[in-house]
């Protein structure tokens, strides 16, 4: 086996792990990392996106539009959840754990009762390509590009747009922002919806590659929390490097010793990073800058 094949396969596995970590974590990075809401229903927003995507594709929509529909529906559900539940609990972070956990149980069981125990898959598009001895799925490259796109989009949104500035101001010093005439309630709502929509996007993107069941959100939740905890409060400066570091650990450990050690490696890396950098990677980077 030649070197180029080995390098490509290592890069591919890294990209694959990176995409999964970043896409699972982005929505949570906004809701938990930025807003400080410990959202245990994150996986169910992902499930919602995946289900809506699959349903619309079954109804005849092309996959990209289906994914868009999944994203939008999840964002709208996010708005409703924020209005009804989360809004009243911003200064009670421990209570949000219970509330969002309850929401997640209701969502999982409600889906099971209403939609049934499984939903038919939609099939992965694009086919495969060959490098050396190995064949790879093209869609996995699409997922990697989508992860990069989402990170770039988030950076642009929170740094270059008026909404981004207002959102950061509102979350940093809410009463000052309100005094300056910012409608903080609206900003909170929109930011939460943005996080929920990103979760839905992750669900939509992974829907063609996975089993569609009410409990599918659970397979994302560990990776999502791990990435956000390591990343810290800044969506871009945290999630991107955290995803990178964890993807290296995970892909190297998995190719060396199998899936179990990949997961062990992931958790050990988290313990080390949290111990050394209590504010996460972004906390470390930002402190260096100031």
């Amino acid at each position: 086996m030649n070197l180029a094949t080995l390098v490509f396969s290592a890069l591919y596995q890294f990209g694959d792990a990176f995409a999964f970590l970043v896409l699972s974590a982005c929505g949570l990075a906004v809701i938990f990392g930025m807003m400080g809401v410990i959202n245990l229903a994150h996986g169910e927003f992902i499930m919602c996106g995946a289900y809506v995507t699959a349903a619309t594709v079954h109804a005849g929509l092309p996959l990209p539009l289906g994914i868009l529909a999944g994203t939008i529906v999840s964002a709208l559900v996010g708005v409703v959840v924020e209005l009804v539940v989360i809004r009243h609990l911003y200064d009670r972070p421990l209570d949000t754990i219970v509330a969002t956990w309850g929401l997640s149980l209701i969502a999982t069981q409600g889906t099971l009762i209403m939609v049934g125990s499984t939903m038919a898959g939609v099939g992965t598009p694009f086919g495969s390509f060959q490098v050396g001895d190995y064949s790879y799925s093209i869609y996995r490259i699409v997922l990697f590009c989508a992860a990069l796109g989402v990170l770039a989009g988030l950076y642009a949104l929170f740094n270059w747009t008026r909404f981004g500035v207002l959102a950061r101001a509102t979350i940093q010093v809410p009463h000052m922002a309100a005094a300056l005439g910012v409608d903080t309630r609206l900003i909170y709502s929109l930011t939460f919806a943005c996080g929920a929509g990103l979760a839905g996007l992750a669900g939509g993107l992974y829907a063609p590659t996975m089993t569609l069941v009410p409990t599918m959100g659970a397979t994302f939740i560990m990776e999502a929390f791990v990435t956000v905890v390591i990343g810290g409060a800044d969506v871009f400066l945290g999630t991107a490097p955290a995803g990178g570091v964890l993807a290296i650990v995970k892909s190297v450990m998995t190719s060396w010793q199998g899936q179990l050690f990949g997961q062990i490696g992931l958790l050990v890396a988290v313990i080390i990073v949290v111990r050394v950098l209590p504010k996460g990677i972004s906390g470390f980077v930002l402190r260096e800058r100031t």
Partner: protein, 413 residues
């Protein structure tokens, strides 16, 4: 309404206690209580909701026809949520508080091993209506599902002859996957093949890029997939999209999780499964069972082998109680010891083996085509669960209440 009645009602509402109605004439008699502990939610629900429905169907039929010895059959069902600790909790509850006569319980082997000591401790009587890794030698248990000597001794040699002798095993990382992989290893060796590789996947893992690459690196002739739970089923779609294009063999797929219905063709192309029942089996008995099932549960996505195992188990229990004229376990085991507890099930004739209290089965080799249609290249009739008996487990003489494996056989006397 008294406080205790209220509390009872509330507990019933909370836990979803299910009491099937029975006709007035029967209600006069003291009912026979059957506990049902199956996963109606959680990771395994897709494969197990049909088991509960099958038990309900059989119970309804039996009660309509006059019950068991004139006594109606009453179900006490709890949702175990794919959670091992729930099994322990509810097993204690059905045995101690509900005082059921028999319990039908369990999908995953982890949950079975979680509740089995409780059945032994409280001297209960349980049916495990599920295919599994084999080896349970316990007088408190009757197993109606298929075991490795029925599923692998047929499947693996067939695959090795057809595709080649290099075998790769991809298995779920818990007792079922580990022990089943041990069986595969043993049978591959006995047939002069070799293991190209093995990987064990933790339950709940859904991303398989690296495992797919490991398989491609090992270049096996076919892959034995012993993946369990809905998360792990994502493997097929991902392997197909990476164009792995290897034949697959399994004892759990299709027959339990109906992956060929859930995934878009051709992701399960060339999957071979040995199963004792799936709804595609084209015999009059099977058709009749399928029609009855669909009439009662029209929205059932699939009638799988565990549904059939559960259905026939209710009838087997009826037969044994009527022959023993008692619901006591010791009386029923005397009937089993006669060695002629058999019935014409939807799959064909099945009998209980007195030594191991496991069942003989008709084993169908199901092949999934490129369009996900099922064909049956081969059928083996009356395959006995012989391993435990040959290895030295004889429940008619001694009840060790243990589980054995090829590397840990029963102690020689």
């Amino acid at each position: 309404m008294s406080k205790s009645v209220l509390r009872g009602l509330r507990a019933a509402a909370l836990t979803g206690t299910l009491v099937l109605g029975s006709s007035l004439a029967l209600a006069a008699e003291n009912p026979i209580k059957l506990g049902v502990l199956e996963d109606q939610s959680g990771d395994f629900a897709a494969a197990t909701i049909g088991k509960v429905h099958a038990i309900q169907l059989a119970t309804e039929e039996i009660n309509k026809a006059g019950g068991i010895m004139g006594r109606p059959l009453e179900l006490v069902a709890y949702d175990t949520q794919s959670d091992n600790t729930r099994y322990q909790e509810f097993m204690r509850r059905v045995l101690q508080r509900d005082k059921v006569d028999v319990v039908f319980a369990g999908f995953s082997s982890a949950s079975r091993e979680a509740y089995r000591p409780i059945v032994d401790q409280f001297n209960g009587f349980a049916f495990y209506n599920n295919q599994y890794e084999g080896g349970v030698c316990d007088g408190h248990m009757i197993v109606t599902g298929a075991v490795p000597e029925q599923q692998f001794s047929t499947l693996i040699p067939y695959m090795m002859e057809k595709y080649g002798k290099n075998v790769y095993t991809l298995a779920a990382d818990y007792n079922f996957g580990q022990i089943s992989a041990e069986w595969v290893r043993k049978i591959v060796k006995e047939n002069g093949g070799k293991m190209a590789g093995e990987e064990f996947i933790p339950l709940g893992v859904s991303q398989f890029s690296q495992s797919i690459q490991n398989i491609q690196k090992a270049k096996p002739d076919f892959v034995v997939t012993l993946l369990v739970g809905t998360a792990q089923a994502s493997y097929y779609e991902q392997a197909a999209s990476a164009n792995v294009n290897l034949p697959m063999a399994s004892s759990v797929n299709v027959g339990q999780g109906y992956e060929h219905k859930r995934f878009k063709p051709p992701s399960l192309k060339d999957m071979y499964v040995t199963t004792n029942y799936i709804e595609e089996i084209d015999s009059p008995k099977s058709k009749e069972f399928y029609a009855k099932f669909k009439a009662k549960f029209p929205s059932e996505p699939y009638v799988n082998q565990e549904a059939e195992n559960s259905y026939l188990a209710v009838y087997l229990y009826k037969q044994m109680v009527e022959r023993a004229k008692s619901t006591k376990r010791e009386d029923i085991r005397k009937v089993i010891a006669l060695g002629d507890v058999c019935m014409d099930a939807p799959e064909g004739k099945v009998c209980i083996d007195p030594k191991s209290q496991h069942m003989s089965h008709t084993i169908y080799l199901a092949k999934v085509g490129a369009d996900h249609a099922i064909s049956f290249p081969k059928t083996w009739e009356d395959i006995k669960p012989y391993w435990l008996g040959e290895a030295g487990c004889d429940l008619t003489k001694k009840d060790p209440m243990a589980q054995y494996t090829p590397s840990n056989p029963p102690p020689k006397p």
